[in-house]
């Protein structure tokens, strides 16, 4: 893999992952389900802002596609999907006090 491809992937993936983290930290459903003490400090973003941040997160991939950088696009997509999955786990509250009732 060449350095230029690596650079392209990093330049695309880092801002997208940061934006995904911001999106997740202000996600209304996630915030609604937080424990009460954690809920007060953060407010959810309105839908328009969430859509804007989501579109900005997707922008690097779109630019890669438009430029025909398909290898970079696929790696960027893979990193964003894995990173998003990881963020959800990082943003989740700890399992203290979890109950054992039937689903």
């Amino acid at each position: 893999m060449s350095l230029s491809l690596l650079l392209l992937v990093v330049l695309g993936a880092v801002p997208s992952l940061v934006l995904l983290l911001m999106l997740g930290s202000r996600d209304p459903k996630r915030l609604r389900n937080l424990p009460r003490n954690a809920r007060e400090s953060v407010t959810p973003w309105p839908p328009a802002r969430r859509r804007l941040i989501g579109a900005l997160a997707a922008l690097p991939g779109l630019l890669m596609m438009l430029n025909g950088e398909w290898a970079a696009f696929l790696i960027w997509l893979g990193l964003c999907l894995c990173g998003g999955w990881l963020w959800v786990h990082r943003l989740a509250p700890p399992a203290i006090g979890a109950t054992m009732s039937r689903d």
């Binding site: 060449s2 997740g24 996600d27």
Partner: protein
């Protein structure tokens, strides 16, 4: 609608559910082995390194080394030659003729010469049919074992391919229907209620992994089904429908025009000239070279190049006997077409091997997510039916196979390295070790009272096996880390380190109880109940 008594309805529902879970377990096996198969080249390099790693298996002048090797081979096998990279960077050239077995099945028979790309010397020689030569391939045996398990679950052709093809279709169907009926789950893309009910937490973890992994689940399932069905069903069906059963004609149409027929003797093909030209045109290394009609005036050389940096597709060039460029050929047919363009994307999209370790790492992580989704889905399904004894046994088997399969794959490596050192039948040893690991895990999960204990023991054994494997590799291959540093054997370092870290992560997971596991019936009931 057929009206059935309540008892029969319950039985049929149980059979329906059981068959779905068994299919799910097979799919889990295909996904887990697929995750390992992403790094098949690296596993081969790690399990059977040469003393030092060449920068490329295709150094300048490798064509001359292949020509020299040809002189050591009986001319009856000079009909065709195919050369490609093998474990540790070895160059394998297979000189062969086309033949049929006693049952009339087409086979290739000939001699393999394995060349060290640095010294250009022949270091190994095998003779027989293509199948026999494959079985004698000790350096690649471990990597092939894992790939064969992924591709056809070690079942004979075409049944294994058909089964994995059906599993791929089932996975694709699950991805598409899941997208359509569970669109509301996208609103829960960031919601993991770990602090609430433990079953809810497990369900969230399952949904999140499935949702984030959805695009790749579809891609991998589609391309995987394509590969399984293409050779086992697609080509024979196409031959039957459009070419009156003439399979050779189908292959001729799909692959392109056959080589001209001029048996006049000629010097060996100019491999180096063709390889040099192909390198310049593609800006990458060759994947393989096929030389038809070796030593004849009508010799045709097909050089298939790996994707250049930033691209996805291989490129194929044709050369004549003198190594003169003739044309660039699409992967399918002899003229460019959209079908050929789509077909050429199947490989890179399925294998994730178009940009070296970075793309492979992304595919590995996404494959891991797919395995996680399948396993947690099966656990949730069986846990919710915990009150029914039949489901209780299946739940135990899900745990046994879920945690036992990775352990069994590592056990296969424990069967491989002693053979490298001491000799023996590598295939028997690997399969025995694999089955011992798998059956042992299933037995353990069905014998222990608490599934949480099964999980803990299986994860602990996996951790120990992972941490011990680099040391066994060291003993088996005789290559220490100092030797690896001197020889530039990056794969040895990377995989030894990866295995050790994975072992430590397993030990860490042992200390964290699985939320779903706490709900499983065996936590309260004995196996006899």
């Amino acid at each position: 609608m057929i009206r059935l008594p309540q008892r029969e309805t319950r039985t049929l529902l149980a059979v329906h559910g059981w068959s779905a879970v068994l299919l799910g377990l097979l799919l889990y096996a295909v996904i887990v082995t697929g995750v390992a198969s992403v790094f098949t080249d690296e596993i081969a390099d790690w399990s059977s390194p040469l003393p030092s790693q060449a920068d490329t298996a295709w150094p300048q002048g490798i064509g001359s080394a292949i020509q020299h090797a040809a002189q050591t081979v009986d001319p009856q096998f000079h009909e065709d030659m195919i050369a490609f990279r093998q474990a540790g960077g070895r160059m394998q050239a297979f000189f062969h003729k086309h033949d049929t077995d006693p049952a009339g099945k087409p086979i290739e028979r000939g001699v393999v010469t394995v060349i060290d790309p640095q010294s250009r010397q022949i270091i190994e020689r095998r003779e027989g049919t293509d199948e026999e030569i494959g079985e004698m391939n000790l350096p690649n045996a471990l990597a092939h074992f894992i790939v064969d398990l992924h591709v056809r679950l070690h079942l004979p052709n075409p049944w294994g391919l058909l089964l994995t093809g059906i599993l791929g279709l089932a996975m694709m169907l699950a991805a598409v229907t899941g997208f359509v009926i569970h669109r509301h789950l996208f609103k829960e893309l960031f919601t993991l209620r770990r602090h609430k009910d433990r079953m809810l937490s497990t369900r969230d973890a399952h949904v999140i992994a499935g949702t984030w992994n959805l695009p790749f689940a579809f891609i991998l399932a589609f391309t995987g089904s394509f590969f399984s069905f293409a050779s086992s069903f697609g080509i024979p069906a196409m031959a039957m429908a459009a070419f009156g059963g003439d399979r050779d004609k189908v292959i001729e149409v799909l692959i392109g025009n056959p080589a001209a027929n001029d048996p006049t003797p000629a010097p060996p093909p100019a491999l180096d000239r063709a390889l040099d030209d192909a390198r310049q045109r593609a800006g990458s290394d060759p994947w393989y070279i096929l030389s038809e009609h070796w030593g004849r005036a009508d010799a045709l050389q097909t050089v298939v190049m790996l994707p250049a940096s930033g691209t996805l597709r291989n490129r194929t060039f044709l050369y004549d006997a003198a190594g003169r460029f003739m044309q660039e050929k699409p992967l399918l047919g002899s003229v460019p077409s959209s079908g050929a363009a789509v077909y050429s994307l199947m490989g890179p999209l399925h294998f994730g091997n178009f940009a070296g370790v970075l793309s492979k790492a992304a595919w590995f992580a996404l494959g891991f997510a797919g395995a996680y989704v399948t396993f947690t889905g099966l656990l949730l399904w069986t846990t919710r039916r915990e009150d029914q004894p039949a489901w209780r046994y299946l739940g135990r088997s899900v745990t046994g196979l879920g945690y036992g399969l990775p352990l069994a794959l590592i056990m296969a490596a424990y069967g491989y390295f002693p053979v490298v050192r001491l000799g023996g039948d590598v295939h028997v040893m690997m399969m025995t070790a694999f089955l011992a690991g798998l059956l042992g895990a299933l037995l353990l999960a069905n014998l222990l009272r608490q599934l949480a204990d099964s999980r803990r023991i299986l994860l602990s054994l996996t951790a120990l096996a992972l941490i011990g494997l680099p040391w066994l590799r060291w003993i088996g291959t005789g290559v220490s880390w100092i030797d690896a540093a001197h020889g530039g054997l990056n794969a040895v370092f990377a995989i030894d380190l990866g295995l050790s870290i994975a072992g430590l992560l397993c030990l860490r997971a042992v200390r964290r109880p699985s939320p779903a596991m706490k709900r499983l019936p065996s936590a309260q009931a004995s196996p006899a109940t």
